[in-house]
Amino acid sequence: MNAILLLAAILFILMTLVGGKKGARSFFAIFLNFGVIIFVLFFMNDPNINPIIVTLIACAFIGCINLFFINEVNIKTITAFLSSLITTGVLIGFIVIIAEKAMIQGFGEEEIEELSIFSLYIGVDFVKVAASVIIMSTISAITDAAMAISSPMREIHYHHPDISRKELFQAGISIGKDILGTSTNTLFFAFFGAYLALLIWFKDLSYSAGEIINSKIFSGEMITIFCAGIGVTMVIPVTSWITALYLVKRGNTADTAE
C-alpha cells in the first residue's frame, strides 16, 4: 500500500474522530487547497501571466477555503479575510523587492547538477515565482493569526457592547501578543524541519560560514523565514484595526448582535 495514502487515511480517520463533521470539512479543505496549488501551477506556466497576480488571486481563494469553508461566513471570518488580504498585498510588495535585489530566485548551484537534463530557458520569470512561493508558504499562517484575533475580539465586543474603538484595538493587540510567540514558532520549526537535510549537507561538505550565508539556497530560506515572521506579525495590528473599526461601526448603526 502507498505510504501517502495510508497517512492520509489515518489523518482523515483521526480528524473525523476528534472533530466530527467539522473535522471532515477541515480534511477536505486540504484537498481544496491542493487544487488551488495545482491551478496556480498551471497559470504560472504561462509566461504571459504575471505570477504575482496569480498568487494574489490564489491567496484570496485560500483565504476563502480556510476561513469561509472550514468555519462559515460571519463577521469574524469576513474581517479576518479582509485583514489577511491587506497584509498579503503589502507583504508581497516587500518580498518582490527583496527577492529581486538578493537574487534568490530559481535554483542554487547545489541543485543544478541533478537538473542538467532540463532546459532552464523556459521563459517563466523565476524572480516573481520566488516571491510567490514565499507568500504561499505563509498565507495559511496569516489567515490563522487573523482568525485567532478577530474571533476573541468579537466575543469581547459582544460582552462589552459599549467598548470604544481604541480599547477594542488595544484588546486585539494584546491577544495578538499572546499568539505571536506560538505562531512564529509554528512556522520556524516547519522550515527548520524542511531544511534539516540542507543544514546537514552544508556541515558535511564543510562550507565556511561565509559560503553558507551567501549561498542562494540558504539566503533564500532565511529570507523566507524572516518574511513569514513579518507576515504573521504584521497581520496582528491590521486585524485589530479592521475588526475594531468594523465592530464599533456596526455596533453603532445596528445595536443588536446576533
Binding site: 472533530g19 509566461p47 537574487m103 499572546d178 509554528t186 539566503s219
Partner: protein
C-alpha cells in the same frame, strides 16, 4: 511614570546603534572573506538573442561585459573584467547591475600591469539577509514588545541548539540522528514554551502534551513507512543528501511538526485553564466538551499551515518539470511525495495533540483542585 519613557529612549538608541553598526559592518566586511570580492562599476550589454528550446519555450539570452573593482585580498583596488550571461527567466543566472558585490575567481594573467580577468562565482547576499532580519526583529518588537523580544530570543536559541545538535551528530555518526533529535526536541519544547508562557501549570501541561503527541506521531509515521516499505515516497528526490536519507527525512519531519504541535498544546491548556480560573468548580465533563470545541476550531487551520509551508517550496521545481514536458502526474509524484508525507504526518501530530492535550490539562487541573 516619567522614568519609563527615558528607559525606552535608551533602548531605542541601543537598538538603533546595533542596527547601524551591523549594517556598516556587513557593507564593509569584504576583508573577512577568503574568496575574492569585486564591486561592479560598469555594465555593458553586449548582445541579446531570442532562444527557443526543444519544448518550444521562448526565452531571451543576454550577455553582459562587466568591469569591477576588487575590494579584498592581494589584488585589492585592481580592476577586473568579467562577462556574464543571463536569461529572461533567470532560473540559474542573474542580471548583474552596477553597485552589486560579486564573488569572483581571478584568472592568471601573463601581463602584470594589464587589468585582470576572471569569472563570477556568486553574488554577495549577506546584507540582504541582515536587512530582512532587522525588519523582522523591528516589527516583532513594535507589535509584540516584551513577548516579541521573547520570541526572538526563543528563535535564536532554537537555531543555535539545532546547529549544535547537528554538530554532535556529525561528530558522532554512530549515535542515531533520531536520538539526537529527540533530545533536541525535548529541549526545544521546554525552552520555547517556558519562554513564551512562563513557569506555571499551563506550561507544564503543554510541555507534556507536546512531547507525548510528537513522539506518538513519529511512531505512527515510522510504522506507516515500515508497513508500506516506503512505497510512494520518492526518497531519491530528497535534496541535499549526504547521509542515510530515511533518518534525515524522519528527523526533519519530527522537528517540522513540533512548532505546530506546541501551538495546539498551549492553546488547549491555556483555554482550559482560563475556564477553570473563571469557575473553580467547573465539572470535568464541561471542560472536556469545551476543550474539544477549541480543538475542532484550530485543527483545520493548523494542518493547513503545515501543508502550505511544505508544499509551496516545490513550486519552482514543478514549473521546471512541466515546462520540460514532463507529465503532470509524474512531476507531482516526483516532487511532492515527501512534502505531502511531511504535511500529513504533521497533521496527524496536530490532531492527536487535541485529546492528549485535553486529558493532560484536565489531569493538572484535577491535581490543583485536590491540593486546595
Amino acid at each position: 511614570m516619567k522614568n519609563i519613557p527615558f528607559k525606552k529612549i535608551y533602548l531605542y538608541i541601543i537598538l538603533a546603534l546595533c542596527i547601524a553598526a551591523s549594517v556598516l559592518f556587513v557593507q564593509n566586511n569584504d576583508a573577512f572573506y577568503e574568496r575574492t570580492i569585486a564591486e561592479v562599476k560598469e555594465v555593458q550589454l553586449l548582445h541579446s538573442e531570442e532562444v527557443t528550446d526543444i519544448y518550444d519555450n521562448k526565452d531571451h539570452l543576454y550577455e553582459q561585459r562587466i568591469i569591477a573593482e576588487i575590494t579584498n585580498g592581494e589584488a585589492k583596488g585592481q580592476q577586473i573584467h568579467l562577462t556574464n550571461q543571463f536569461s529572461e527567466s533567470k532560473a540559474y543566472d542573474n542580471e548583474i547591475k552596477t553597485g552589486q558585490k560579486l564573488f569572483v575567481s581571478i584568472k592568471d594573467n601573463n601581463e602584470s600591469d594589464a587589468d585582470l580577468s576572471g569569472e563570477i562565482i556568486d553574488l554577495k547576499r549577506d546584507h540582504f539577509i541582515l536587512l530582512t532580519g532587522w525588519i523582522f526583529i523591528l516589527i516583532l518588537l513594535l507589535v509584540g514588545k516584551k513577548q516579541g523580544l521573547f520570541s526572538i530570543i526563543s528563535l535564536a536559541f532554537n537555531a543555535v541548539l539545532l546547529s549544535y545538535a547537528l554538530d554532535v551528530y556529525l561528530k558522532n555518526p554512530e549515535i542515531s540522528l533520531l536520538l539526537i533529535c529527540s533530545a533536541a526536541v525535548i529541549l526545544f519544547t521546554v525552552t520555547s514554551l517556558l519562554l513564551v508562557n512562563g513557569f506555571n501549570e499551563k506550561t507544564y501541561a503543554a510541555i507534556i502534551a507536546t512531547l507525548a503527541a510528537t513522539f506518538l506521531s513519529l511512531l505512527i509515521t515510522f510504522l506507516v513507512i515500515w508497513l508500506t516499505g516506503g512505497k510512494g515516497l520518492r526518497f531519491e528526490e530528497l535534496q541535499f543528501i549526504t547521509r542515510p536519507y530515511q533518518m534525515v527525512f524522519l528527523a526533519g519531519l519530527f522537528i517540522g511538526s513540533l512548532g505546530a504541535v506546541m501551538d495546539v498544546a498551549i492553546t488547549m491548556s491555556s483555554s482550559l485553564f482560563s475556564l477553570y480560573e473563571k469557575n473553580n468548580s467547573i465539572p470535568v465533563q464541561a471542560l472536556k466538551r469545551s476543550g474539544m470545541e477549541v480543538g475542532k476550531d484550530i485543527m483545520g487551520t493548523m494542518t493547513n499551515i503545515l501543508f502550505f509551508a511544505y508544499i509551496s517550496g516545490s513550486i519552482p521545481m514543478l514549473i521546471l518539470y512541466i515546462k520540460n514536458d514532463s507529465p503532470l502526474g509524474y512531476s507531482l509524484s516526483m516532487n511532492l511525495s515527501l512534502e505531502l508525507a511531511r504535511a500529513l504526518a504533521g497533521g496527524i501530530g496536530i490532531v492527536i495533540t487535541i485529546p492528549i492535550g485535553l486529558y493532560t490539562t484536565i489531569y493538572f487541573i484535577n491535581r490543583k483542585r485536590a491540593r486546595r
